[in-house]
Amino acid sequence: MAAARPAAAALTPAELGVLLDRAGLTLNPGQVADLVLVWRQLAGMVAQLPRDRKLADDQAYVFRLPVPDATPRHAAPRLAAPRLAAPRLAAPRPAAAKPPARPRAKRPPAAKKKR
């Protein structure tokens, strides 16, 4: 099984303050104490979750879209055809085979200009 993450270190008050500010929460001291208690337990659970996975092993969000129906019962209203059709891109032509290189005819040397 993929390796779990080491247990999260306990949050310092300063760290907790930064996280709460980021979350937009304002807690009184009692509420902070409750959160610290629960976070210790929740962080332990987070640490149990495997983290070290191959990049190809993504199974998290498998979802299946419904198969398109040829005769939908509740067909969405059809969109009007656009007035200005987007220019169609020409299909790329396959590259033509290059003709064999011809030997270039030698040019006579250019006359030097007198300055």
Partner: protein, 462 residues
């Protein structure tokens, strides 16, 4: 009058030996007498109930037949009801009156059921019994000093005390099955997608299910026949085939293969000696019914619990994020303790939990390759005292019930036995996805073999 089951009342009503109005009046009187002790109800809808009961009588006279016609039910107060207060047991919704019924409520009303009222819950279906809310927590009819279990706390209490013949609940980490266990009734968490969640106030959408609670597994099956079914307006609803769950409950169990999740209740969340004796007896009863029973080895309970807690915390926090910033003090302490941790989780934590969930779903499915039912217990022991409840329950020790939520399988709790002190103990039966029929069949026959259904709590009127 000894409270009736739904099946018994339906037979009497169909035979014209009992009228819906008579039955509704009797239960309303019972509620008036006992609910001051039990606090099972947030709202009693007496006038609407009697109107519905009269309508049921007219339908009967016209020849309409339905097993729920005239049957009095209660709704967990997270099920939206048109024109009727729906509070989620929270100060934040103290004045909330929806304009439409939840889809499940619509189906129950269409079947002729009589809604007696809205039932207590833990705030927004999470948290625990709280004394800092406008309504007190529900109390256990077997001993009012004890916890009902939650979050469908009022549903468990009302069914056990015979204030309603059936109720709706919701289950995200055990919220139908825990009160079913502590209150000695039957409660079914269905496969996700079987029962519409439209109009049911959510907690953690990855895990939320809506389901029935009643005195017996048979009654849960009768309720499920009406509750289940595709709802095109619920994106999580699945078009599963319609099943007659209440038919064939007595069919033979010979050869059915039962896998016992022994490590859950012997090592991971050790059960009390009385619960262990219950499990030994349950295995014996199942063998006597023809089942093949053997031990199976699931992944550790802590793995299921870690996934469940992280998902619930993250999703519940996301749902309530805006209000937690502006109305923090209006939530109960129990809610804050169980949800605020979600503010500290990272997106990577959440994705790690979802990935691990996928593995646990596959690992649980592998157990069903050789077994038809997985057997466990929903709680280590009987209902604890209300005063022993801690806001951080669920974090401090794992919930046995969360495994079925994470694994996305149906799970039924039925009453298996009583402790020496007279408190109920539940057993938990999990099935393959969409196989509620087998789970209910085994639960029904186990209840009958255990002989627990003749014993009702005696609630002393203060």
């Amino acid at each position: 009058m000894t409270p009736l089951t739904i099946a018994e009342a339906a037979r009497l009503i169909a035979a014209r030996k009992l009228g819906p109005v008579e039955l509704a009046r009797e239960l309303l009187a019972r509620i008036a007498a006992l609910d001051p002790v039990l606090n099972a109800f947030i709202t009693v809808t007496e006038r609407q109930a009697l109107t519905a009961a009269r309508a049921a009588e007219r339908q009967l006279a016209a020849g309409t037949k339905h097993r729920l016609l005239g049957i009095p039910l209660g709704l967990k107060d997270i099920y939206e009801t048109a024109g009727i207060l729906t509070t989620a047991h929270s100060r934040l919704l103290a004045d909330n009156i929806p304009t439409t019924d939840a889809e499940t409520v619509r189906r129950l009303r269409a079947a002729g059921a009589v809604i007696l009222g809205k039932l207590a819950t833990h705030e927004f279906a999470i948290g625990g019994p709280a004394l800092d809310l406008p309504w007190p927590p529900a109390r256990n009819p077997w001993d009012p000093k004890r916890f009902t279990g939650g979050s469908s706390s009022g549903s468990g209490a009302a069914v056990a005390a015979g204030l309603v013949l059936g109720a709706t609940g919701s289950d995200t980490g055990g919220s139908i099955r825990l009160p079913a266990a502590y209150c000695g009734i039957a409660g079914l968490k269905p496969t996700p997608g079987l029962v519409s969640r439209r109009g049911v106030i959510p907690l953690a959408p990855s895990l939320d299910t809506a389901g029935p609670m009643a005195w017996t597994a048979e009654d849960c099956a009768i309720l499920l026949e009406t509750l289940a079914g595709h709802d095109p307006a619920d994106p999580a609803s699945v078009a599963a085939p319609r099943v007659a769950y209440a038919t064939g409950l007595g069919a033979s169990l010979k050869g059915l293969r039962v896998g016992v999740l022994r490590r859950f209740f012997e090592r991971d969340a050790p059960a009390t000696p009385e619960t262990l004796r219950l499990m030994a007896e349950t295995e014996r009863l199942l063998r006597a019914l023809g089942c093949v029973v053997e031990t199976v080895e699931p992944p550790p309970l802590a793995d299921y619990n870690a996934v469940g807690r992280v998902l619930i915390c993250a999703e519940a926090y996301a749902l309530h994020e805006a209000r937690l910033k502006t109305r923090l003090a209006d939530y109960s302490r129990a809610f804050r303790v169980r949800v605020l941790g979600g503010a500290l989780l990272t997106a990577a934590d959440y994705i790690a939990a979802q990935r691990r969930r996928t593995e646990l779903i596959a690992a649980t499915a592998a157990l069903f390759a050789r077994h038809d039912i997985l057997l466990s217990v929903p709680t280590p022991g009987a209902a604890p005292l209300l005063t022993e409840q801690r806001p951080d329950d669920g974090f401090a020790r794992p919930f046995l019930t969360t495994a079925a939520n994470v694994a996305a399988v149906p799970s039924l709790v039925v009453c298996g036995a009583f402790t020496a002190a007279g408190l109920p103990l539940g057993v938990e039966l999990m099935g393959r996805p969409w196989d509620e029929a087998t789970v209910l069949r085994v639960g029904h026959q186990l209840e009958t073999a255990a002989g627990t259904r003749a014993r009702r709590p005696q609630v002393a009127i203060e």
